[in-house]
Amino acid sequence: MGRRAIWACLVGALLAIVAPLLPAYPLTLLTQALIAAMLAMSLDLLLGYTGLPSLGHAAYFGVGAYAVAILATGRQVGFAGCLVGGLLAAGITAAVFGLLAIRATGTYFLMITLALGMVIWGLAFRWVSLTQGDNGISGVPRPELGLPWSLSGPLPFFYLTLVAAMVAWALLTLLVTSPFGLGLVGIRESESRMRALGYNVWWHKYLAFVISGTIAGFAGVFWAYYNGFVSPVDTQLVTSVEALLMVALGGPGTLVGPAVGAALIVFLKNFISVYTKRWLLILGAVYIGAILFAPRGLLGALGRGRR
């Protein structure tokens, strides 16, 4: 734990030092990677630590993003209000959906989270008076924090996102190393054993679900500010599955791994789409390749090699 924290701080500091030297395009990609990393880490809490494969995680991400877009464009709410609004919206959605989903395990859990995620997508798509439907909500302004410098440039916004990602990572790390987090791992390994030991398994899983959804919403808040535009695409199944791929690619149950997986996918997507229109084809091949050649994720594969 101690060593991990030092490493993470080093990487964060390195990014902070390198950032001013980078041109605008790689810098925005890095920002995007950090946001994706937050989403992937939040999913890792469920998938990697609790053993619950959520197939609708984009829902909470999207709810957070939509909350910001609606509050910031229609009602000119400031950063603090949008942040709280986004976290609350995502948290409440996760709290309601969790009541349904936590009853199920394994494949059933997967299908229910998928269906619940589609409900959010459907609302984003059809509830036109609130979400502007397929057109999405554009013109989300960059936040004003009352600081002496503006956050509209790529560099200050990158720093803000970096701080947010470090906060998300620190919170999740504290959580998974706490007795509660160890309880989650115990549930992943054997639910019946944990129940026999007197743990409230339902409550552990439910809390993990709500926290995970809320942090996904946290990522969504930054996505809305980063992109300036929120649309049903942010809530759709493919986005949920992409988050799963990031976690699986990086190595579930490591937090750092999914963050690395997220960065890889973001860079890959952007580089491929520069060279060819057929990036879906290549992305599909990446999914299949990842499963065939690195079933435990990249970190998992490396870790096995070292031990």
Binding site: L47, P53, L55, L100, R103, A104, G106, T107, Y108, L110, M111, I112, L114, A115, L116, M118, V119, W121, G122, L123, F125, R126, W127, V128, S129, Q236, L237, V238, V241, L244, L245, A248, P252, R278, L280, L281, L283, G284, A285, V286, Y287, I288, A290, I291, L292, P295
Partner: protein
């Protein structure tokens, strides 16, 4: 609201449910035997539609389109199952990522081959027009869909309940290990069921292509419906798929007609109630 409205909407719901049944019965059976969450199932529907479209363009025969789509997509299903999915038995996450990988590839290939424009498969002459019953008129094509779904449902039921192969499938659904133990070739059964499911989805794609249209993104549009049907009806249950399809078809249709802005939500609420009362779905027994 007039009784005319209720009759028309109910019928539309039933016919949409019939289409969903073609899609979901295969998904449910595949799940029952192999415990695989197949996210490429919607792609079979879409590919079936596109293959059917090409055949109708070339030959003008709707029947040929049905046969060609079922055969082509069935072969794709066999290839996927044998070469890729079989080695992932029991790895839920791996199956999800693998099948979504295929779904993305199919989507992009379809875009490459057929372009991004939406098409409609022309229905055969006899199936155009309306059927009049007691002053109400129903589109003949939708009556045809209901009949096809009924036929498929009855055939599937007979095959499962009255034949030796069906008994082997049921044994594999109930306890794969035990079925293997008494000499049933479960991998072969799995392959056959997977191919059958793919064929049914492709038939649904051709039939649905004449009234929903064939378009990029059709795959991910029908997939959640099929999932909701399977969740509501119970995984691996044929009666469940039938009841679930009807329920989802009706709910979706009335939802869209009465609360257009919340239409998906009207599917969600009943699903929530059913899951709260019966976590394994109406007919499931996991």
């Amino acid at each position: 609201m007039s009784s005319e409205f209720w009759i028309a909407q109910t019928f539309n719901g039933i016919s949409y449910g019939a289409l969903l049944f073609l899609l979901a019965s295969g998904l449910s059976l595949i799940f029952g035997v192999m415990r695989i969450v197949n996210l490429a199932h919607g792609s079979y529907f879409m590919l079936g539609g596109y293959v059917g479209l090409s055949i109708v363009w070339r030959t003008g025969s709707f029947t040929a389109a049905l046969v060609a789509a079922a055969v082509a997509v069935g072969l794709i299903g066999i290839g996927m199952e044998r070469l890729f999915l079989q080695r992932l038995a029991g790895q839920t996450l791996g199956q999800v990522l693998m099948t979504i990988g295929f779904a993305l590839i199919f989507q992009d290939l379809a875009l490459l081959i057929w372009g991004g424009d939406p098409y409609t498969i022309p229905a055969p002459k006899i199936l155009q027009g309306v059927v009049r019953v007691r002053g109400s008129s129903f589109p003949t094509y939708r009556v045809f869909i209901v009949l096809v779904a009924l036929l498929v449902g009855i055939l599937l039921w007979l095959a499962l309940e009255r034949t030796r192969a069906g008994a082997m499938i049921r044994a594999a659904v109930d306890d794969g290990e035990m079925a293997r133990g008494i000499g049933i070739n479960v991998p072969m059964i799995s392959l056959a069921v997977f191919a059958l499911g793919a064929c049914l989805a492709a038939l649904g794609g051709v039939i649905g292509g004449a009234f929903l249209g064939v378009f990029p993104g059709a795959d991910f549009e029908v997939l959640p419906y099929a999932f909701v049907v399977v969740i509501v009806g119970g995984l691996g249950s044929l009666p469940g798929a039938m009841v679930g399809s009807l329920l989802v078809g009706l709910l979706d249709n009335f939802g869209k007609a009465l609360f257009p802005e919340l239409s998906y939500f009207t599917l969600f609420a009943p699903m929530a109630v059913i899951l709260a009362l019966r976590p394994t779905g109406l007919f499931g027994r996991l």
